[in-house]
Amino acid sequence: MTLFNNYFRKLGNFVKPFKRTECFIVLSKRTFANGAYDYDLAVIGGGSGGLACAKEAINLGAKVAVLDYVTPSPQGTKWGLGGTCVNVGCIPKKLMHQAALLGEAIHEAVAYGWQVPSVEQVRIDWSALTEAVQNHIKSVNWVTRVDLREKKIEYINGLGEFKDPHTIIATMKNGSKKELTAKNVVIAVGGRPHYPDIPGAKEYCISSDDIFSLSNPPGKTLVVGAGYIGLECAGFLNSLGYSATVLVRSVPLRGFDQQMSSMITNEMEEKGVKFQHRCIPLSVEKLASGQLKARWLNTETQEESEDVFDTVLLATGRYALTQQLNLPAAGVTTLSKNGKIVANTEQTNVPHIYAVGDVLEGRPELTPVAIHAGRLLARRMFGGSSQQMDYENVATTVFTPLEYGCVGLSEEVATDRYGADNLEVYHAFYKPTEFFIPQRNIRNCYLKAVALRDAPQRILGLHFVGPVAGEVIQGFAAAVKCGITMEQLSNTVGIHPTVAEEFTRLNITKRSGKDPNPASCCS
């Protein structure tokens, strides 16, 4: 065998050099593409936007470095490569949402005839849940690192800041520093949870950074904030069996269609989540028992209230991590008052410095937005493309126990922009077939289409509250991008029995005043 192998080895000696020459040529193209700088592109931030941009850039022949660093949360939580979405955002959120739904499904199964022994004793094992979720996250961290290594993207686990417009200093965990120069820089640092300035916030409260790896079950939880993060957390915590109370400063899901938002919160209330409207937190203190006493103020009645909780989860907004970048050293001045970067075409006032993702002002803070924008940006930088990112009509979904999916304009924004007289809003309540047998609440299953009044009635926004709302809305997002009209939607034949088909059955307008409740199915 060895003789045989030696023979092949000799052949290999001829074949290999040619291969290596090819590699050498590609390598030299990369290295000498810009002799003046270490890299063609340095990406600060290894999250959705940063990684997508880096991977597209390397495909186009650029020499790329990615810096990623996670400053521990006030409670000490940290995580690996991949950014917010993978570690403390979309992914663990969706997994916990799924865990909550499965818990509900176990009970519904009984109505369908499943014999579930001691169904009243079914409980969630928080440790098992968090372990499963964290294992999945770690596997994604690993695959991401392997992918970067394979694509020959340099990964630096350090906190990046500018020294001058083309020089970045990365500070590692052990304090050592590494300096690198780059022809282009993309800022994709994202954001972190904001902590209100009240006593006890940083010492005793947790945020979405901590909930998905919390070492002890959260127990009775107070969620401060009613944006989608607060509502989604309160939603799955409640369904998992942990009592949840939500403090709402102004309105739930501010910025979203308010009628749909009220459907969601109604459903959550009917499921047992308590809402304290028009309330702001005053303080959180730790009791001898280890529990937390939270005090809050009702800004309308000026009444103060308090209660004891096991966990207080702050979800009062997120701020962009621009402070630690030392942007003045780079000459970047286009910052909004919330510290985000203003960059309409992802380019800052410094021509070779760009920004992508949550750090951008006025753009949807969504992973697919960051990924798409990051890719298009890389193509413009290294691929000679001129295609800009289209931030209009980006679909999104709030994963509360009863989900809310939407694409396009809310009714409020459409009314503002076009005037109520120029709009026609079609709406309907519906009854999912699967809800009947377990007698699930159908009161909040509702959808609407906001369209222009004049024929062919181009659709401006679609809104849907119901199960699997994300799956329902995704296809319609493509339709809205094509400029779908009510005429086309009405002429689309639905798939039966589904909940998505309700969009094709829309025919009652708000203007008509007719009852939008369904008579019966199949007609």
Binding site: M1, N135, S139, V146
Partner: protein
């Protein structure tokens, strides 16, 4: 014949690996039947590449459920054997080995004999495949020449 070509085709990781460490001392230590827990490249070269016996190398991760089933199974089957060793490589601690062997998913099992890769499988495979591999590695000598 096919074994040799397989060997040839899979040899390039060895080049990369060789580059990681210059000194190649032949291991003359007493034959242990304990599983080799690879902590670094040197250990890998000494105890796996330069091992007189064939070695089954199991790439393992703590966060990987199928690994938690496969690794104990491999230990159970291989530790009693005197002419075959098992090496477990934790992918989090051995990034360069992962890269050298182009491991993109875990669990991954690579069979090494005389410093050459002779077989590879990815994922949790059934007991038959594992047993076949072990029989081939520990039983009859390779005769494809």
């Amino acid at each position: 014949m096919s074994g040799a070509i397989l060997t040839q085709g899979l040899r390039s990781p060895m080049r990369r690996l060789a580059g990681l460490r210059q000194a190649k001392s032949i291991s003359k230590s007493v034959v242990h039947n304990e599983t080799i827990l690879v902590k670094n490249n040197n250990e890998f070269i000494n105890k796996v590449m330069n091992n007189d016996k064939p070695v089954i190398v199991n790439f393992h991760a703590e966060w990987c459920e199928p690994c938690k089933i496969l690794t104990p199974k491999l230990k159970e089957l291989i530790e009693p054997l005197h002419n075959l060793d098992l090496a477990v490589v934790d992918v989090e601690d051995n990034a360069e080995l992962v890269h050298a062997f182009e491991v993109k998913a875990v669990p991954a099992v690579i069979a090494i004999k005389n410093g050459l890769i002779v077989d590879k499988f990815i994922g949790l495979v059934d007991a038959d495949m594992i047993n076949n591999l072990i029989d081939r590695m520990s039983g009859k000598k390779k005769e494809d020449a």
